[in-house]
Point group: C2
C-alpha cells in the first residue's frame, strides 16, 4: 500500500526521548499533518538494528517519499547499519559529540542510553518525594503541609493547577501544592487564611472565561459550575485577589503543561531540585 505520509523514525539505543524531543521540535516547523511518527527504542544489538533497518526500508518502499530518521545511537556498528537505510539520516548524537570532545579535551564515555537510564540517586529521590508531596496536597488537601512546599498554585477549578503541579514535581522535583479557589472562598473579601500564611509561596493561574466555560461544560454540561457568567465571575474575583495581594500569576489559556511550568519557573526564579 503506497501512501503519501512522510514516515519519521526516532531511533535510539535508549528510551528515544531525546531523539523524539528534538525531532518533534524540528518537525513542528513544517506542516505537521503529513507525518507519521514511529519510535524504535532500545535498538541496542546488531540483531535489533537489522530488524529496525528492515522496518524503515519497508516504510520507504510503501511510501511515496523516503523516511526521515532522527537517531541517538552511540554504538558505531549499530549506527552504520541504520545510516544505510533508504532515508534521510539525521545523526543527532554524532553531529555534536565531536565538537564537544574537542572542546572538553576528554573523550566521551560512549555509554549507551545514559541520559534517561541509570538515574542519579538524589534526582530520583527528589522526584519521588516531590510527587508524593504533590499528590498529598492536591486540590487543597493537607494545607498543614504548606510549610514544606516550594510553591503553591492557586486558581479557580480547571485553570490547570493539577497537571502543572504534577509536571513541576516530576520534571523539577519541586514540592508543589495546589489549592482550588472555590465560589465559596470568593464570597469572602479575604484570601483564605491557610493561604495568607504562605503568601510568598503563592502563584496564581488564571484562564479566559470562555475557555473555562468550554472545559467545565464538557465536564458538567448545563451546570451552574459551567455557566459562562459563573466562569466570568470566578475568574474576575480570583484575578482581583492576585492583584490585591500582589500574587504573581499567569494566564494558562492555550498553553501546554510544559509551557505553563516553564513560565512559572521563569517568572518566579524558582530553581528545580531535579534536572
Amino acid at each position: 500500500m503506497t501512501n503519501s505520509m512522510r514516515n519519521i523514525f526516532y531511533l535510539s539505543d535508549g528510551t528515544g526521548i531525546t531523539a523524539e524531543n528534538l525531532g518533534h521540535s524540528l518537525i513542528s516547523q513544517f506542516d505537521k499533518t503529513q507525518f507519521e511518527h514511529v519510535t524504535l527504542s532500545y535498538v541496542d544489538s546488531i540483531e535489533k538494528a537489522n530488524v529496525a533497518l528492515a522496518t524503515i526500508n519497508k516504510a520507504a518502499t510503501e511510501s511515496k517519499s523516503r523516511p526521515i530518521i532522527f537517531a541517538t545511537l552511540v554504538n558505531e556498528e549499530i549506527r552504520k547499519i541504520l545510516a544505510s537505510a533508504d532515508a534521510l539520516f539525521i545523526d543527532v548524537f554524532n553531529t555534536f559529540i565531536g565538537p564537544l570532545e574537542q572542546e572538553l579535551k576528554i573523550p566521551s564515555s560512549y555509554r549507551i542510553g545514559r541520559s534517561h537510564a541509570v538515574p542519579d540517586e538524589s534526582r530520583y529521590t527528589a522526584r519521588i518525594e516531590a510527587i508524593d508531596f504533590t499528590l498529598s496536597t492536591d486540590d487543597g488537601n493537607n494545607t498543614y503541609r504548606y510549610n514544606r512546599a516550594d510553591i503553591i498554585l492557586i486558581g479557580v477549578s480547571r485553570s490547570g493547577k493539577t497537571p502543572t503541579s504534577l509536571y513541576l514535581a516530576m520534571q523539577g522535583g519541586l514540592l508543589t501544592a495546589n489549592y482550588p479557589i472555590t465560589a465559596d472562598d470568593l464570597r469572602s473579601s479575604e484570601l483564605p487564611q491557610s493561604l495568607q500564611k504562605f503568601k510568598e509561596k503563592l502563584f496564581g493561574l488564571t484562564i479566559d472565561p470562555d475557555q473555562l466555560h468550554a472545559i467545565r461544560t464538557k465536564r458538567r454540561p448545563g451546570s451552574h459550575y459551567a455557566d459562562l457568567s459563573e466562569c466570568e465571575y470566578e475568574v474576575k474575583q480570583a484575578e482581583r485577589w492576585f492583584k490585591e495581594y500582589r500574587i504573581p500569576y499567569l494566564n494558562t489559556t492555550s498553553l501546554s503543561i510544559e509551557e505553563i511550568a516553564t513560565r512559572i519557573l521563569a517568572q518566579t526564579g524558582l530553581k528545580r531540585r531535579a534536572f
Copy 2:
C-alpha cells in the same frame, strides 16, 4: 570569583526543553560532576538576547573554561547575537533545519517555540483526561473504572507504580490505573478478583528486595513493612503471580521513571494517545 566548573547554557526562544534534553543527553557522555547547568527560556527579543549574552560572557570571564551553549533559537537576529558569545555555540536548530528543508522541499515556518507552545487541542485533552483518570484510580481506588483503563500497573508498595502511572498519563495520554498488591492480598492464593477481570490490561512492576527494603526503611524506619524478610516475601509472591497468570512484568530497580515507562510501551506494544 574564578571557578573550575564548566558552565552549560540552554538557550531558547521557547521553553528550552528541547535544548535541555539534547544537551543533557550529550553531556551525560562526559563526567557530569564538573558542569553547572543554566537554562535561559523565552529569549525572544533583541533586548533579552543582549541580557543573555552578558550573562554568558560574565560566566566565561569568571570561569577557567569557556561556557557551552545549546541553542534552539529560530530568529536569525537573536541567534547571531548569542553566537557571538565567548562560548562553544552548539546550534541545535540551525544544524538540522537546512537538511530537513531540502529533503521536504518546503521552507520551515520559522515559528518560535512551536514544539512546546501552542498545544494541539486533542493532545491537550488526551493528557488532561488521562491525568484525571490516573489520579482517580491511583493506589487501587475506584477499580470499577478499570473497564476504561489502557493499562493497569500492579506491584507491591513502593515498586514505582504511581510515578510511572503519572508519567504514562502526562507524556503518553494513557489512562493508567495502578493497584498495590498488599501483604493481605498475597495471603490469598489467587490474584484479587478486581484484577482477574482485566487480566489482559495488567502489567507487573517488581523490584529487588534489598532496594525495596532501603526505600521502605526511609519511609517507615523499623516497621514490619520495611523488614527485609517482609520485602523478600512480598516480592517473591508477587513475582509468582506474574508468572502464574502470565502477566508481563519489569524489574524497576535503578531505572528512571522515563526508562520504566518506555520499557512498558516497548514490552506491551501499547501506543501513546498523546505524543
